[in-house]
């Protein structure tokens, strides 16, 4: 494992020389081999044991074991400890080994992927793990990038290449990377082999969007930025091949640096349990001290006199030393208050709960054929305590599929609401009308198609605009089979809609756009693209149609666009505005469309000013914007589009139910603010009923602080002075609903914060301010956040709120968040399985979260709490009897019970009923917990098992132990059998007490069990049966004959249990133990019933099913959906022709049916015939990616 040789730890800067392994090896950079596994065959045993003994409990039991080997203090046989300890250690070891085996497998799988490395001028296949820093590797289309590379050259013109970074940051749109111009010319391997440039750059870090370095080559310096880098985890798209120089490899890559360290997660119950165990140790020591003092006194007063019958052991020469030994002896005896079986049982219960999660049919997604999976088995009960959910957006809340849903053309709205209850409207079939239609496109309103067919001018112009005004690239794989490469899925949806309605965008060159309008090819001259940016929130194209008319087409956010319309549009604008409001209320993303006719003179004049602005060296951006502004005026409104960012099934309902359960949901997304806000609205996290939506988007510390403060004031002071900057202002707040007083006082607020502002807000001095503001809000959305920031937000809440957090996401960008939250949930969707691999639970639909939390989590928590309460109770009842006996046996550490009983009590006699309860118990059925989300609250408030509950259990246990000791003592000390033999002998007493104990704790478990399945019956009765069977076996003649010294209780069982007195004693003790508990529980149920009790009580009463969610807000605020994942700069790229293939440029002049890209595709197929990457194969690759 070369990785073990750690490279220079504090790397100041990195120097990499291409094609020079000797030189690079000097620095001992990490190789490209990744290792996430912990052990290998040799190190497994020692390392694993070492780790296990770091657990306090294990060490404690080891210590006890050692104590037991000292004859002077051994009050119990060694096997009472070693059997359970060995059991625990081996179970854990097997589990760790299996986990690690799978990690090895996945590491190997990744490390052994093939990549083509340029070695001595020729391309050779190498495994990923053998790739070194400084190597030049070749990547082909749809391949994963093996390491962080400096892009040297590409098959595409201008050294461009396209990548998809979904694995890295979750964004599914394509990004462009460009090589430094000097290296882009090094086309073929021979040139590259002689390339000996040296890169000096920053040391490995986790900043995904930043890279700074310098390339020194042929005595010249070239600045390198993130634009030149291909990061590990990206996938090469639309690029035939490219070459890159490995800069960071393996653990140094940004992907691995971002993935964070795997933390061992513990639940709060675990931590509480550890605290309690420590307290119990303290208690144990106290008991030991008390008994040791007792022993000292006794030995001095009585024992010393008794020496003629029992002299002190040789090392003991005075009562103090005897007390010292007695202390340790009692530590051994009383150790069963923290039995090692506690930890095993907890593990078993959790395992059982995990299986139930895996088996749940209602969390099985039949579309993707995946069942829910509990990947870790240690966190189940924490699922019942979640207070904060941090959710990714893309792929988690949404399907990341955009669909053209509705439109408004010239005051007429099209597109029906698909009513889930009514008859499914017929999906339009476009094929007879338009052979080029995309078969996957769905639209349900045939009036629109009719309108197109009858040749309505507005409708035609509407779709013409959609087919022209965009930055989509097209590719024709074969005749008529168009594939659009859209930067953002929204734009793709719009162009596809136009395509289906007969306005097919076919191909483009830097200066032309070819479309097929109603079956007729038309080529427009593209005069200018007025590109999109965040401030403009619109884009326009200026085209000259074949008739020579110049027209500007503009689409953009309604707020911006409606201001720039010609006054004559007033009426239409009002109608369209109403439509837009309607669409927005449905959570759709809207865009308004407009055009403007330009005369030749206007165009010339503007063109000149535009050129002038374009050439300006200073403030080019501003000047361009001003120029654009100038021409985008007096436009004529065409209509509006509404796109649905398809939410996953049941998302709003799930969110509503979870909020009812008092869980706060934060959305953390790498996406744009507008997108995030839109989704917030469509999944009902944000509603128009909200008093205010705060937006924080300051770029400096001061501005962020100021924004935070003012909002804090607003939030508490009642909401004046709107801070809204970016999105359209919400309509005046509706009159507050008179229902809830609390809401009236505090109001409902939402907070939206941008990534760069978040960076400031997360700084130490602003943290608390941010947390208090954010937590006062009902919904929080963080947009444009990096993976690391997601984790930081989670950490922040963990730190300040002491609440249980859950992170849910589907992409590699969510991994750090998933790892740092208490519970990480991975959505096994399309974006690879990075998130799933890092997660604790995985399933394929966001909506399963409600079942996971409200049903499984709640049950797990309930069961675990009941289990722990009972467990501590039964062990105190069991152990404390020794304490009382100490006062009668001269504090000599004599046990009350037979040693076999002590060994078996926790493992056999009482383990299964409580396990059955811990695994199967239910207070209310699953449907009820979904119907009454409030049932989830006890978990969040930690009501079922806390320190108070613990003390109650302990008190009950001690009470039971008192009864169990003193009742038999009082009865037996003076009783005789019916044949005159006294019953006061030790063995009879031991058997009586043990039997009473087993019966009392069995009765107690029957009281605690709320859900009696067959298994519970079998286990409870079986345990009782096994107690008697085993006791009779251990007290049998056969065993005694073989081992007389070990089984000297021979005959005790039958002799004792035949006595009516003994049974009367047991019955009395049971009654005294149980009656107060029963009375107390009845009183509690009668006077202070919990919600769950009530639900149970009214179980049979059929309740009207409450349907959460879908309480849609009327008159929603409009939210622009323009170019959601859009990036500035594509327009320029198109007009400059940079991203056009040479071949397509050459062929563009034809502008004929035989599209350039069709030939292009053919050419490519010849080259790399092995590469036909259907999406299925892509996912297959992704699945194996780690």
């Amino acid at each position: 494992m070369t990785h073990f040789v750690s490279h220079v730890s504090a790397e100041e800067e990195r120097r990499v020389r291409a094609n020079d392994r000797e030189y690079n090896e000097k620095f001992q950079y990490a190789s490209n081999c990744i290792m996430t596994s912990k052990y290998n065959i040799i190190t497994f045993l020692p390392v694993n044991l070492f780790e296990q003994f770091q657990e306090v409990a294990n060490t404690y039991f080891l210590f006890l074991l050692i104590l037991q080997l000292i004859p002077q203090i051994s009050s119990l046989s060694w096997f009472t400890t070693i059997v359970p300890l060995a059991l625990v250690l081996s179970i854990t070891a097997v589990k760790d080994a299996t986990d690690d085996y799978f990690r090895h497998k996945s590491d190997n799988q990744v490390n052994n992927r093939q990549s083509q490395v340029l070695i001595r001028g020729s391309l050779q296949n190498e495994k990923w793990m053998n790739v070194r820093v400084g190597d030049i590797i070749k990547l082909e289309n749809n391949q994963f990038v093996a390491a962080d590379l400096l892009l040297l050259s590409s098959s595409e013109p201008h050294g461009l290449c396209y990548i998809e970074t979904a694995e890295l940051d979750g964004e599914t749109n394509m990004k462009v990377r460009q090589s430094v111009s000097v290296t882009s010319e090094l086309g073929d391997p021979n040139n590259l082999a002689s390339f000996d440039g040296e890169v000096v750059c920053e040391p490995p870090n986790n900043k995904l969007d930043r890279f700074c370095g310098t390339l020194y080559w042929r005595d010249k310096k070239y600045t390198l930025t993130n634009q030149n880098m291909l990061l590990r985890g990206c996938v090469l798209r639309n690029t035939e091949a490219c070459y890159g120089l490995v800069i960071f490899a393996g653990p140094d890559t940004k992907l691995m640096q971002n993935s964070g360290r795997t933390k061992f997660k513990r639940t709060s119950i675990d931590r509480l349990m550890n605290t309690l165990v420590l307290w119990i140790f303290g208690f144990l020591v106290c008991m030991g001290v008390i008994l040791a003092v007792g022993n000292a006194v006794w030995e001095r007063e009585v024992g010393s006199l008794f020496q003629s019958y029992l002299p002190w052991d040789p090392p003991v020469d005075n009562f103090l030393f005897s007390a010292f030994l007695s202390f340790w002896s009692y530590v051994i005896i009383l150790n069963t208050v923290v039995p090692i079986s506690l930890y095993v049982s907890v593990e078993v219960i959790r395992l059982g709960h995990s299986y139930f999660i895996n088996w749940d049919q209602q969390m099985f997604c039949s579309q993707c054929n995946t069942a829910a999976e509990a990947r870790t088995t240690t966190l189940n009960e924490e699922l019942g305590q979640v207070e904060y959910i941090f959710s990714d957006k893309t792929g988690t809340l949404t399907q990341n599929i955009m669909s053209f849903n509705k439109c408004s053309i010239n005051g007429q709205t099209y597109g029906e609401v698909t009513d889930p209850l009514g008859p499914q409207p017929k999906r339009l079939d476009f094929t007879p009308f338009n052979p080029l239609a995309d078969p996957d496109f769905c639209f349900y309103d045939d009036t629109l198609l009719e309108s197109v067919k009858v040749g309505d001018l507005h409708t035609h112009e509407f779709f013409r605009l959609l087919s022209l005004c965009h930055t989509v690239m097209s590719e024709e794989k074969s005749e008529g089979e168009l594939v659009y490469k859209a930067q953002s899925p929204d734009e793709g949806a719009l162009v596809t809609a136009a395509r289906n309605f007969g306005f097919v965008f076919r191909s483009r060159t830097p200066g032309t756009i070819t479309t097929i309008e109603m079956g007729r090819p038309v080529t427009y001259t593209l005069l200018a693209i007025l590109d999109f940016n965040n401030i403009r929130k619109r884009m326009s194209v200026i085209v000259r149609n074949p008739e020579g008319k110049i027209r500007l087409y503009c689409k953009g956010a309604d707020t911006v666009l409606l201001e720039r319309l010609h006054p004559c549009n007033h009426e239409l604008m009002n109608i369209t505005s109403d439509h837009l409001n309607e669409y927005a209320a449905d959570g759709l993303r809207t865009l308004a469309l407009a055009y403007r006719d330009l005369s030749e003179d206007e165009w010339e004049a503007w063109s000149a000013s535009h050129r002038c602005a374009d050439k300006a060296t200073d403030c080019r951006e501003d000047r361009l914007a001003a120029a654009y502004e100038q021409i985008e005026q007096d436009m004529m409104l065409l209509g509006a589009t509404a796109i649905e960012d398809k939410l996953q099934e049941g998302v709003p309902e799930t969110i509503a139910v979870l909020s009812l359960a008092n869980i706060k949901i934060w959305v953390l997304t790498g996406d744009k603010q507008e997108t995030a806000v839109n989704i917030g609205y469509s999944c009902k996290m944000l509603t128009d009923d909200m008093t205010e939506v705060f937006i924080i988007s300051g770029h400096t510390v001061q501005s962020v602080r100021q924004e935070l403060r003012s909002e804090h004031v607003n939030g508490t002071g009642g909401g004046e002075g709107k801070q809204l900057q970016c999105p359209p202002p919400p309509p005046p707040p509706p009159p507050p609903p008179p229902s809830n007083l609390m809401d009236n006082i505090s109001g409902e607020f939402a907070l939206i914060i941008n990534g760069h502002s978040l960076a400031h807000a997360l700084e130490a001095d602003m943290e608390t301010e941010f947390v208090s503001t954010a937590c006062a809000c009902k919904a929080v959305i963080c947009c444009r956040v990096t993976p690391l920031q997601k984790a930081q937000v989670v950490e922040l809440i963990k730190k300040h709120k002491k609440a249980v957090t859950l992170a849910i996401g589907d992409g590699a960008n969510d991994v750090s968040m998933i790892k740092s939250a208490h519970i990480g949930v991975g959505i096994s969707g399309q974006e690879g399985i990075q998130a799933v691999l890092a997660s604790d639970y995985s399933f394929s639909q966001f909506r399963f979260l409600q079942r996971l939390l409200l049903v499984h989590g709640r049950w797990s928590y309930l069961r675990m709490c009941r289990f722990l309460c009972y467990f501590f109770y039964k062990n105190f009842a069991f152990t404390m009897v020794h304490f009382w006996f100490g006062f009668f046996c001269g504090f000599s550490a004599q046990t009350v019970y037979d040693q076999y009983f002590i060994t078996l009590y926790n493992i056999v006699y009482t383990s299964l009923p409580v396990l059955a309860m811990g695994i199967f118990d239910q207070d209310v059925p699953d449907q009820r917990s979904l119907e009454y989300p409030k049932l989830y609250e006890p978990g969040q408030l930690n009501l079922l098992f806390n320190k108070k509950e613990f003390f109650i259990c302990i008190a009950q246990g001690i009470y039971t132990s008192v009864v169990l000791f003193f009742v038999p003592y009082a009865v037996l000390s003076d009783a005789t059998q019916s044949n005159g033999v006294p019953l006061a002998d030790y063995q009879t007493f031991a058997v009586t007490t043990a039997t009473a104990l087993v019966i009392v704790v069995s009765v107690q478990i029957t009281l605690d069990t709320g859900f009696w399945t067959v298994i519970n019956h079998v286990f409870v009765w079986g345990s009782l049966g096994s107690y008697f069977t085993i006791m009779f076996a251990l007290h049998s003649q056969t065993l005694f004959r073989i081992f007389p010294n070990q089984f000297h209780f021979v005959g005790s069982a039958q002799s004792t249990l035949l006595q009516p007195v003994v049974w009367l004693t047991i019955a009395l003790a049971t009654a005294i133990c149980i009656v107060p508990v029963l009375a107390f529980r009845f009183l509690k149920l009668d006077l202070k019933p919990q919600l769950s009790d009530t639900v149970r009580y009214t179980q049979l009463v059929r309740q009207k099913k409450r349907k959460p969610g879908r309480l849609g807000a009327r008159g929603g605020s409009r939210r622009s959906g323009y170019a959601f994942a859009h990036q500035e700069g594509f327009g320029e790229l198109i007009t400059s022709g940079k991203n056009m293939r040479l071949s397509s440029l050459a062929l563009a002049t034809f502008a004929s049916r035989h599209s350039s890209s069709w030939i292009d595709t053919l050419r490519r197929k010849k080259h790399t015939h092995a590469h036909t990457p259907p999406t299925g194969a892509e996912t297959a690759v992704k699945i194996t990616y780690y």
Binding site: S75, V302, Y309, L310, F356, W359, D360, Q361, F364, S366, N369, A371, W859, F888, C889, G890, S892, F920, Q922, V967, A970, V971, S973, D974, A975, T976, S978, G980, P982, A984, D985, Y986, Q987, T988, F989, G1010, W1012, V1014, N1016, F1040, P1044, N1045, V1050, G1051, Q1059, V1061, L1064, L1068, A1071, I1072, L1078, A1079, F1082, L1085, D1086, P1089, D1093, T1094, R1096, Y1097
Partner: protein, 353 residues
């Protein structure tokens, strides 16, 4: 059916729809309602009361007398003698007198009792070798390490039976005499056999295999415990079969008491002859005690207990009284619960309405 499902593509990984896996097993969910709890309490109270009364009546029918002879009367002399270890060999016999008001009817059991003698100390209890006493030859000659320091004597001879328990055997012996109204003394016949558990006598304690040898020969090479006057094979001079490890008194002693104050069975009245056919008649009695067992070291006391029995055992007032008290407490609780339920009970219904 399952196979077919597995084949059908998209649902191949669908979890089974079994009641167990879907957590829908038919189950009984009991709830503590007033209808069940309150009657149960009253019922319990009633049962406890009936039991208590019955037991009390039973206990009342037994008779018991305890005579502490530690330094009563002339035994005081013996007590003083035993104070000195050097007089251990010296025998001392004393007599204690007592009278019975009412005749003891039926079987009468004779116990000796010890107070403040800790048979339940951990090291004391461990200090025995059951393998030796079940007659294992190798343990006879080489007793368990647990017997230390009573494993071997100064000469290195193994002790049989070894250990502190056997070593400290109670070795007073008693002769009970009835003095009738005419002044005639009748020796009260005591059965000294059948005073042990059946399993002890027949399983747990066995002599080493004799094979034509006498018991004394079998025990050759071992020595008697330090405090004993006679070797184990001469414990009962009257009955040869009651010697060695199966001696009843030894077995009784070896069954360690759970508490420092205990009594052990010494003998049972033999009722074949007059005047004891119906039990012990009322009148004066005296016990002749061979006073050997020293108790003054540990401030102990010795007593003799005579008692009659019922099915339930000897006189034991705790159990009936405990039952009666419990019964009344349960009744009290039941009444309180009923009142609370009637007055304040929410019956689990009116939550959050």
């Amino acid at each position: 059916m399952g196979k077919e499902k597995a084949k059908s593509g998209s649902l191949a990984r669908r979890p089974d729809n079994s009641a167990f896996k879907q957590q829908r097993l038919p189950a009984w969910s009991p709830m503590l309602t007033a209808n069940t709890v309150l009657p149960f309490f009253y019922f319990m109270s009633l049962i406890c009361m009936l039991l208590g009364v019955w037991l009390l009546l039973t206990v009342q029918s037994t008779q018991e007398i305890k005579v502490d002879y530690t330094h009563a009367g002339e035994c005081n002399v013996c007590f003083e003698i035993r104070k000195n270890m050097s007089n251990a060999g010296e025998s001392c016999i004393c007599t204690v007198e007592f009278s019975i008001e009412k005749p003891f009817k039926g079987d009468v059991f004779f116990y000796y009792g010890l107070q403040n003698f800790h048979q339940n100390l951990r090291r004391y209890m461990d200090s025995r070798d059951d393998a030796q006493m079940v007659g294992w030859k190798e343990n006879l000659k080489n007793p368990s390490i647990y017997c230390e320091p009573f494993k071997k004597d100064q000469n290195g001879l193994p002790i049989a039976p070894c250990g502190a328990v056997a070593n400290s055997i109670f070795n007073d012996s008693f002769t009970l005499t009835y003095i009738d109204s005419s002044g005639t003394e009748h020796k009260v016949p005591l059965l000294r056999r059948g005073i042990t558990w059946y399993t002890d006598k027949n399983v747990k304690f066995r002599n080493p295999k004799v094979d034509n040898l006498t018991l004394a020969q079998v025990f050759e090479g071992t020595t008697k415990p330090l405090y004993w006057q006679k070797p184990v094979y001469e414990l009962d001079p009257h009955q040869a079969t009651n010697n060695g490890f199966i001696n009843d008194d030894l077995i009784v002693w070896m069954r360690e008491a759970a508490f420092p104050n205990f009594k052990k069975l010494y003998g049972i009245l033999y009722r074949a002859n007059k005047p004891f056919t119906k039990g012990l008649p009322a009148g004066n009695y005296k016990i002749e005690i061979s006073y050997n067992f020293p108790v003054q070291y540990f401030r102990g006391r010795k007593q003799v207990v005579l008692t009659t029995l019922t099915w339930f055992g000897g006189q034991n007032h705790f159990l009936p009284i405990a039952y009666l008290v419990t019964s009344s407490l349960i009744l009290l609780i039941a009444v309180v619960l009923t009142v609370v339920w009637l007055k304040f009970g929410k019956n689990g219904k009116n939550m959050e309405e």
